[in-house]
């Protein structure tokens, strides 16, 4: 079998037309997912069963099911529910972009909340005791001691999740969105050249991942200044 480079030269610019949408999916769901994750994590470590249990159930559901299934449930399932169709959130679920954002956000939120919890648990108890002994309140300790240290501890795992989320955005193509993967699939349907097109697509994702990885590495080093002798 031959490898047709002209096909690639033709296809790459077309695929890149979807990069904006891929980025929107990534950034919007990463930001919303992080906000959600902070809330879920706080519920989880609150020490109050009526907050911690719902958080644990939520995490269990979203880590326990494939993200593709979650996207399908949101996109195909929710519109069947009358109360959703009649509520103010209906425009969100009528739109495949909205559905993809909801599913990706809920999914990444579950994972990131556990990553953040790991960071919070990793903060040395002695440091918090020193804060207590100096008269800092629970809230002051959380803001000035726990959070900054936990964020630095959680960063490598969090970066991993953002990179994983980039790849998950490709699943949005299954619900008609023309992100990079969606466009590539359309081109394949027209050219019958899955090999060339999907390899090109894979390489684009790899380049994006490399850029993400480098930027996250910079942030890690910047926030980790205090760890270097």
């Amino acid at each position: 079998m031959s490898f047709d480079f002209t096909l690639i030269i033709d296809a790459v610019p077309k695929i890149l037309l979807g990069i904006g949408l891929t980025f929107q999916l990534l950034v919007v769901s990463a930001v919303l997912g992080l906000v959600l994750a902070i809330g879920i994590m706080l519920m989880r470590i609150s020490g109050k069963w009526y907050l911690s249990w719902p958080a644990q159930i939520y995490i269990y559901i979203f880590r326990g099911t494939p993200i593709l299934v979650q996207i399908f449930i949101v996109y195909y399932g929710f519109p069947q529910l009358e109360f959703i169709r009649e509520s103010f959130i209906w425009p969100l679920f009528r739109d495949p972009f909205g559905c993809a954002i909801v599913a990706l956000t809920l999914n990444t939120g579950a994972y990131v909340s556990e990553i953040l919890r790991g960071g919070v648990m990793g903060v040395d108890r002695g440091i918090l005791e020193a804060g207590t002994a100096l008269g800092l309140s629970v809230r002051q300790r959380f803001i000035h001691l726990t959070s900054p240290i936990a964020i630095r501890l959680a960063l490598p795992a969090y970066g991993n999740d953002v990179i994983s989320l980039l790849k998950s955005t490709a699943l949005a193509s299954t619900i008609t969105l023309a992100d990079m993967t969606g466009i590539a699939r359309t081109i394949v349907a027209q050219t019958f050249a899955p090999y060339e097109i999907f390899i090109s697509l894979a390489i684009i994702y790899m380049i994006l991942t490399w850029i993400l990885q480098k930027s996250l590495g910079r942030v890690e080093r910047h926030l980790g200044r205090y760890m270097q002798k």
Binding site: D124, A130, A133, G135, L136, S137
Partner: protein, 247 residues
């Protein structure tokens, strides 16, 4: 009850599950008094001083600090913690802040001091513990002895009436112990009320007004250092002293 007692512990008990860490502790500490607490590991020394600023909650008896009884009332406990400083075995500096910020944080948040004033106080105290040149470094860049001196300065920034030391030299390399003891001796000279859990018997001899020996959660013996070392009364004290002074 003497009126100048800043710490009063009356029949204080504390259990961790079924383990009784403290049993019937009675202790009064006068203003300006310097107390050294020693005893075998697991004897309740740390637990006792941790009850004084309520890092541990006692479950029997009464603790009164500077006229305020320690209870679950949040406002009261924070008011007490402002007056009681603590220095830990493992320094517990805030790793993500420079030395200067370590010293400024509680002043700003708890005492509501202005930034400039907090900085001045911090620098003065770094001078006092003889490491002003380290102000902009991070804790990890300092030696253990330097870190512990920073921890003492951080406590002093709050202008506490009492300082509790929980084995402040136990985590240090031998050559760094003296620089920390010197700072502590200096504090003692200026009349700070101190309770110090330590096995530095030289420090106890030269600085302490009273030495307390604990074993199995009880205060077994207390005496002036001279009497304590030359003429211990209790067999457990004798055994302990022979163990730590034999080499």
């Amino acid at each position: 009850m003497t009126s100048n007692a800043v710490i009063q512990m009356k029949n204080v008990g504390k259990s961790f599950g079924t383990f009784q860490a403290l049993k019937g502790i009675n202790l009064e500490v006068a203003k300006g008094e310097r107390i050294v607490v020693c005893g075998p590991s697991g004897s309740g020394k740390s637990t006792m001083i941790r009850c004084i600023n309520r890092l541990e909650k006692h479950d029997e008896g009464k603790i009164i600090i500077d006229g305020k009884e320690l209870t679950d009332q949040v406002d009261d406990i924070n008011a007490v913690r402002r007056e009681v400083g603590m220095v830990f075995q493992s320094f517990n500096l805030f790793p993500h802040m420079t030395i200067l910020k370590n010293l400024m944080l509680a002043q700003r948040l708890v005492r509501k001091t202005s930034k400039a004033e907090a900085r001045d106080t911090a620098m003065q105290l770094l001078e006092r513990v003889k490491i002003p040149e380290q102000a902009d470094k991070y804790p990890i860049q300092l030696s253990g002895g330097q870190q512990q001196r920073v921890a003492i300065a951080r406590t002093l920034c709050m202008k506490p009436k009492i300082i509790l030391f929980d084995e402040p030299t136990s985590a240090l390399d031998p050559e760094m112990i003296n620089e920390v003891l010197e700072v502590m001796t200096d504090l003692a000279r200026y009349g700070m009320t101190m309770i110090c859990v330590t096995h530095e018997m030289g420090f106890a001899r030269s600085v302490a007004d009273r030495v307390i020996f604990m074993d199995a959660g009880e205060i077994v013996e207390e005496a002036e250092p001279k009497a304590f070392f030359s003429n211990p009364k209790n067999d457990r004290t004798k055994k302990f002293l022979s163990q730590i002074l034999s080499h």
